[in-house]
Symmetry: C2
Subunit: 355 residues, 2 copies
Amino acid sequence: MAVLDLQDYSIFVGSCREPLGHFLKERVFSRIFVLVDERTALHCLPLLADVLDSAAVLKIPSGEIHKNLATCSTVWAALMDAGAGRDALLVNVGGGVIGDMGGFCAATYKRGIAFVQIPTTLLSQVDASIGGKLGIDFHQVKNSIGVFANPGAVFVDPAFLGTLPPAELRSGFAEIIKHALIADAGQWESLKGRNDLFNVPSEETIVASLKIKQAIVTQDPTEKGLRKALNFGHTIGHAVESVSLDGPNPLLHGEAVAVGMVCEAFLSWKKGFLAQTDLDEICARLLYWYQPARLDPSHFTDYFSLMRNDKKNEQGAINFSLIGPPGTVHINQYFSEEEITDSLLFLNDKRRLQG
Amino acid sequence: MAVLDLQDYSIFVGSCREPLGHFLKERVFSRIFVLVDERTALHCLPLLADVLDSAAVLKIPSGEIHKNLATCSTVWAALMDAGAGRDALLVNVGGGVIGDMGGFCAATYKRGIAFVQIPTTLLSQVDASIGGKLGIDFHQVKNSIGVFANPGAVFVDPAFLGTLPPAELRSGFAEIIKHALIADAGQWESLKGRNDLFNVPSEETIVASLKIKQAIVTQDPTEKGLRKALNFGHTIGHAVESVSLDGPNPLLHGEAVAVGMVCEAFLSWKKGFLAQTDLDEICARLLYWYQPARLDPSHFTDYFSLMRNDKKNEQGAINFSLIGPPGTVHINQYFSEEEITDSLLFLNDKRRLQG
């Protein structure tokens, strides 16, 4: 069991049963509610059954398309109908959708009740669980409505990862790779030797990745500056992900971020931050691991309209976080539409060569 | 011009044109949006025209029934369609609905943009403008979804009060009276001599009232304890207001709070906090000023169901903030349903005698 202490709360990595039980005994809550989706109700809740046996279960449908105001309304209404007071607790058991949306529901219900995050996907364990970003998708823009608020505690239990499909593990690895590329050359060295990303990572790998994010969000909790570093791969990745969700082949978040990292590594090279050899190696590994589909140029207009609505933008310009030599990062970088288009075509070109 | 400094922001009381102009010059915002309703667009916006001439105007329908998620969605969508970034500013010009809902929209748009409050009713000037409580009505419960977040500044300009109907002024006075009763015996002494509450109060009266609320919210911004003092008259008042909104004679907030203060003064007497003579005097003044209608016993069940959902409750019990001798307060007081019913009947009885 590793414990990472942040300013207001702790992240417990390892079996969650004991520390969760301790947390629930230590703090006094009038009522405990557990938010799950159809999948975590089936695969994850049973692992917590006796620790949470006094809790009322709120179940919502699975999937990003339900991360919206309508689902929040059902959660708020359920809390209200149950007479939940401000001293109630909401335990969010699930992936990023459950954590982001459940956290947002808790942070806005009666102007804020306590909540606990139990992330059950690799992606949410190494990324969404830490840093207090909560929210929902709105008006076709991901996480465009939300707040910053910290949970009472986070329990990262690798036991949940055993039930994940391989593609979900690979998706989660994208954030581990991103953390390594922006802040930990050593972890990148060890990651790049992997033949595939379909295995559950060790607790040490998870802890190392969490520590990178912890160090960054502690210095800049509300993303005024340094925290933007975590956006590497995400400016383009979010746009590619959003567009794919409306099509026949929706991408997982990490799959889209892998695409974004290839394009934004190109932009990093373009700015002179990244050496040609590093660019080649990073792109070769990402394309090999993720085997992305070609980006359809007929979607580029949609990408730009989504990128212009990115929360990190200032004065209307599209904001990028780029990398230098592995383990280093450059925030607040800007490009012309032409250069950004080049980076998208670069991916298409590379994957053609790779294939 | 009086300036009250709170931890993160200041409240400017007096003509707002100069300090608002100064604020907009001092801080850099990529875009400025002004939220108004149909009424403030007509009566208040013209007074700010040249100070806000570069701002985009967002107009929503007037009235508490529009303080809901649907209206928030139109505000968020308008901001998004205009490409508003995190460095945009929302200026809320209006009464409590505009301030509470506009503030909530700003605090949740892209996880929070800056906002400024320009309250234009007496009620919002002495109450809602201060303390960072934001939110909307949901599931028939007032302000049940929201957050705590502080504005960049508040501009309390008595010039706006000149356009208010007399009933709106009287409604605002209810919060001034409440502040006096819980914390300022001297102000109560001077208020109780008023023949009616249909005139614009002096700047001094407004400042004195704001200072009471400031002192309380500074000590307890998120309502864990002391801030509950401000709830005097509101446990019953909110319920009476909510029920009235569904009927043919909707009450203004202050009119309902006046009813709540009569009932809760009775409960204060019942607990032995308030002397009979004080109870008689307070009730006589409130009934004379507000001339409330009889509370229909067929609504009592609805009152109780609403009171049980009050945000201040803990462990499911209905929480009251009561008064002692004018200028003193007792928080976290509880009663049986029978005693609460007695307090409702007390009002009916008193107004019968009064009439």
